[in-house]
Amino acid sequence: MARVVVDVMLKPEILDPQGQAVQRALPRLGFEGVDGVRQGKRFELEVAEPVTDDALARIHDLAETFLANTVIENFTVRVEDAESAQGAPA
């Protein structure tokens, strides 16, 4: 199996009150120097190998029509390789 990761983030111009609430909590926890927080979503899709261009294109369509609402969100699609999946430096 291979893992395809779809990251979804609110567009920069869309207000993210959840991210702001997280940021405002940071000083109380002793974290200083964080000037901004944006909260997003990460989807991990376990798919059969090999991940062909065609399969990636279909996942891109899936992300565009379902996982993200492109009116307010941007998304990226990438194949996670085995090394980075194990936490090794990419």
């Binding site: 111009e13 869309i14 207000l15 009150p17 609402n69 009116v71 307010i72």
Partner: protein, 231 residues
């Protein structure tokens, strides 16, 4: 339009898993003089209804995004087709979110800017009276109906907002304070043809004085029923 045996206009109300206000929407249809028809999210046809209400609630637990999973329910396929052909469709709260997710209406609903769930009686100004759902109101009329949402902030890009204003597609605007950070105080909008209307506040909860703050919401349903009679 398809007439029913009873001669009453038939207005379907869709129940998704997690819908809450389908019962009240059906009752509002009945009080307005229509015949409510319960539609199930897995129905593959609309049972010859003349109009459809997508009710409030938390379809599919609001998972992914509010309305995002409901938008792909089987019942939405014939609904989208008939809405594009001119059938009156009203989306209330979660129903409005479903209409935006399905791109029948532009824009999106996001988390209230103050992060609190809002539940209060809300004053609205009616700015369009020639839609399928607002003909029984007068232009500029102020109505009060309940509002209850956590993700009711209407957003769209500036170009879309300008186009909505220029085309007169803002149907309702919040009066007496913006409850959720909606751009330009927008509470409800319509499509180009005026048959599809979505709004966050709940007219179906304001149809009788025993349970509602007013009966201001009844006009939505009487408007649609009149349209069906004359169509």
């Amino acid at each position: 339009m398809t007439g029913s045996a009873s001669g009453l206009g038939r207005i379907g109300v869709v129940t998704f898993p997690g819908s809450l206000d389908d019962g009240d929407a059906q009752r509002a249809v009945r009080l307005a003089g229509g015949e409510p028809v319960a539609l199930w999210h897995r129905d593959k046809n609309l049972h010859q209804v003349d109009a459809v209400v997508l009710p409030g609630g938390f379809s599919y637990g609001d998972y992914l995004r509010c309305g995002a999973i409901a938008r792909f329910s089987p019942v939405m396929e014939p609904l989208l087709e008939q809405a594009r052909a001119g059938m009156p469709v009203l989306g209330i709260c979660n129903g409005f979110q479903v209409l935006c997710e399905s791109h029948l209406l532009p824009g999106a609903l996001t988390r209230n800017d103050h992060l609190h769930f809002v539940c209060r009686d809300q004053k609205l100004r009616v700015e369009r009276t020639d839609t399928a759902w607002t003909s029984d109101y007068t232009h500029g009329q102020e109505i009060t109906v309940p509002l209850k949402n956590g993700e009711g902030g209407y957003v769209a890009d500036e170009h879309t907002l300008d186009a909505l204003e220029a085309e007169g597609r803002v149907v309702f605007r919040y009066v007496g304070g913006n409850p959720n950070g909606s751009r330009r105080d927008i509470a409800g909008i319509t499509n180009e043809a005026g048959n599809v209307v979505g709004l966050m506040p709940h007219p179906e909860h304001a149809v009788e004085t025993l349970t509602g703050p007013t009966t201001d919401g009844l006009g939505f349903f009487t408007s649609a029923l009149k349209r069906l009679v004359t169509a």
